[in-house]
């Protein structure tokens, strides 16, 4: 490695430091708060490392039954519900969404444009106003407090996002690749599955993470549609740390860290599958 390259690498590394600080400073604070008790939070100046760190907040959540309040006890169940719901939504959205995105971007059929506009349009209405009619619909179908109601409603707003995002990624695939495949005798669907999808894998992975997090993070619908253990999700459980007048901040922070774990694990898993430079290779070859 010559001198110039080394210098460049060094400069780049130095640039990553402020970014890492920006990301981690609040997270470390969050973590520190989750290890303390309320009295430690209320000290001036704030202690970066709690004087008497305790895992009690986590224990209360992970080993229910010992907790004084009921909120930590039900947190584990809520977390599981969230995982089930977010995973279902993500899988369905990626499957359905990639199909639709490809069609909308590459196939000039009659209603292409109106469909795009329609999908875009449904996203423009704030959730807040749709919730009462949705609730009425859901209760008539007896879906309240059942996870499926969240899966269906989340799909309604995650799917448009998934479609847009994947469409943009499909768009960056050079059309020559598809033409070449066509010349080789591939059907439209063949192009989709054998050429377009593999190359846009990084984009699809990004979309997967995005959809998962949208479903994972959603609060208001979950709050209104579910309140029993059968379907309550993590954000709703976390909101329960907000009491009438007192907020159990420490518990909430511990809950927040735990609730961040599944998406982070997901990201870790997908790290391996994001192969950058694959596109460059494909075009050359």
């Amino acid at each position: 490695m010559n001198y110039r390259r080394f210098l460049r690498k060094l400069v780049l590394f130095v640039l990553t430091i402020p970014v890492l600080l920006f990301i981690f400073f609040p997270v470390l604070w969050l973590f520190s708060a989750s290890l303390s008790t309320q009295v430690e939070l209320f000290t001036v100046p704030p202690r970066w490392v709690p004087e008497h760190p305790t895992f009690q907040n986590y224990l209360d959540i992970i080993f229910p039954g010992q907790a004084a309040s009921s909120v930590p006890r039900t947190f584990g169940v809520a977390l599981l519900n969230s995982i089930k719901i977010a995973s279902s939504v993500t899988i369905i959205c990626i499957v359905l969404g990639s199909l639709a995105a490809y069609a909308l971007v590459r196939i000039p059929f009659k209603f292409n444009l109106p469909i795009q506009m329609g999908i875009l349009g449904t996203r423009m209405i704030p959730e807040v106003s749709l919730i009462i009619p949705l609730f009425v619909m859901a209760s008539r179908l007896d879906l309240i407090n059942k996870p499926i109601v969240l899966v269906i409603t989340y799909m309604s707003f995650a799917l448009p996002f998934a479609i847009w995002m994947m469409a943009a990624f499909f768009q960056t695939i050079p059309i020559e690749l598809e033409d070449a495949a066509r010349l080789d005798g591939c059907t439209r669907l063949g192009i989709l599955f054998r050429v377009v999808m593999p190359i846009s894998l990084p984009g699809i992975i990004s979309t997967t993470m995005f959809v998962f997090l949208v479903a994972w993070d959603e609060f208001f619908y979950a709050l209104i549609f579910t309140s029993t253990l059968a379907a309550k999700t993590a954000p709703v459980a976390i909101a329960e740390f907000i009491g009438r007048f007192a907020v159990n901040i420490n518990g909430m922070m511990a809950g927040g860290i735990l609730a961040a774990v599944p998406p982070v694990v997901l990201a870790l898993i997908f790290q391996r599958y994001i192969v950058s430079g694959l596109a460059a290779g494909a075009v050359k070859g």
């Binding site: 209320f42 309040s69 009921s70 008539r140 599955f193 009438r244 007048f245």
Partner: protein
């Protein structure tokens, strides 16, 4: 792959149709009736305790099954509103904050239970508790949890400053606060919950009534923008300008008030009852054993006008939802929940609503029920009679929002107190007209 696609799409279409058609609403089973009750997390009793009460009730009433749902206060109102949009309603009964009955009665959510309330209940329960659920002579719910704002102070710090008695008037408090500040005992001796939520209206109510003012006059027209109301708001701003009230009060809620107080940063703190027991909890408080109650101060002008005490009612009750298919069973459960026996059993957690429990031998028993009761029970008896109600109008939420904004604008200097309150009053008139 093509067939896979077709199958996927067909399967999904089928699934959706199935969901749409297959799950028809069940008819009410002939067996035990199930009632759904919505209540607060942390409203007096813990969920585990309320669940236990529900189980006890079920064992005495085998044909009724009770399902409790717990939620944070901030969300109860919205859950009720959406829940009532369904038929049958999602809940048969729900906990009601003292400021909601007018809105809910107008919306047709609450069942009139006047005929179901027995004379025994009417006379045996604190009259002030019935205020929260009675409108135009009709009763719409069963009292559950009484709460008012209390005046608490740190007796050690006060003594350190050289005062042996807590202030009786707000003017006296200002004098004491100035001395405390000068001596360096606390930088901001007083702290309040003046952020843009209902809490600021509660604090304002405490002060307003203590000045002999009121929210509306006999004709129902806004009166909080008269000289008394403006004086109060001006006083509030002055304490911030003078550095006596913590400037963060403008963004603080009740929790922040407690945080400051229990960290020993303020000497006086107006708050609901929860703050007292928290003050003696070492995992939350640095001032264990230093907190005392005092009657809520009033303004000198108010005292001269005969006002002896002032606070604001923050109680909760349970109401039967008007469209429930099971009003009898639901009412039965609510009366059980608030019955004397149950209330006495849990009197360590929550003060009972029955006056008899505060008399004679019962009073001693009550005080002995838990370590904080010897202090909180007398404080309650002292303060509760002065619990004032906030305006009982159906458009209260919007009216309160206007008042919250007005107070905030005055405190942040956007408008003068008179101007801010006048604008809010105009809004109230507009709302009343609709």
């Amino acid at each position: 792959m093509r067939t896979q696609n077709k199958i996927t799409s067909l399967a999904l279409a089928f699934l959706f149709l199935a969901a749409a058609l297959g799950c028809a609403p069940q008819e009410a089973a002939a067996g035990p009736v199930t009632i759904h009750i919505l209540t607060m997390d942390q409203a007096g009793l813990k969920p585990a305790e309320i669940d236990q009460i529900a189980r006890d009730f079920e064992s005495q009433n085998p044909d009724i099954k009770v399902v409790m749902e717990y939620l944070g206060y901030d969300f109860i109102h919205d859950k009720i509103t959406t829940g009532m949009a369904a038929k049958p309603p999602a809940y048969d009964a729900a906990i009601i904050d003292v400021i909601w009955p007018d809105e809910f009665i107008k919306a047709g959510y609450l069942l009139d239970v006047t005929d179901r309330v027995t004379a025994e209940m009417r006379e045996g329960i604190f009259p002030a508790s019935w205020n929260g659920v009675t409108r135009n002579g009709k009763i719409y719910g069963m009292p559950w949890l009484m709460d008012v704002k209390y005046f608490m102070y740190n007796k050690d710090m006060l003594q350190q400053a050289g005062f042996s008695e807590p202030p009786k008037t707000w003017e006296e408090l200002v004098e004491q606060a100035k001395a405390i500040k000068e001596q360096g005992i606390a930088e901001y001796p007083v702290t309040w919950s003046w952020n843009q939520k209902e809490g600021v209206v509660c604090d304002y109510a405490v002060l307003l009534f203590g000045n002999g003012g009121k929210f509306v006059d006999e004709n129902g027209k806004p009166a909080f923008n008269d000289e008394k109301g403006v004086e109060v708001l001006t006083w509030m701003k002055q304490t911030v300008d003078d550095g006596l009230t913590n400037p963060s009060a403008v963004s603080s809620d009740e929790m922040a008030v407690e945080a400051d107080f229990l960290a020993g940063k303020s000497v006086f703190a107006v708050n609901w009852l929860f703050q007292y027991s928290d003050s003696n909890d070492p995992s939350k408080s640095q001032i264990v054993g230093q907190v005392a109650f005092a009657p809520m101060p009033v303004f000198k002008a108010g005292a001269d006008a005969g006002i002896k005490g002032s606070s604001v009612d923050g109680s909760s009750s349970f109401a039967v939802m008007a469209t429930t298919p099971y009003p009898d069973q639901t009412w039965k459960f609510l009366t059980y929940l608030s019955s004397n026996d149950v209330q006495m059993k849990y009197s360590a957690e929550m003060l009972p609503i029955w006056t008899a429990d505060f008399e004679g031998a019962n009073l001693e028993k009550l005080k002995a029920a838990n370590p904080t009761n010897p202090v909180t029970v007398p404080a309650f008896l002292e303060q509760f009679p002065y619990a004032n109600e906030r305006p009982t109008v159906p458009y209260y939420n919007e009216a309160s929002a206007a008042l919250q904004l007005a107070i905030q604008e005055a405190l942040t200097g956007v408008k003068t107190p008179q101007q801010a309150l006048d604008d809010a009053a105009a809004k109230w008139v507009e709302l009343a007209g609709k």
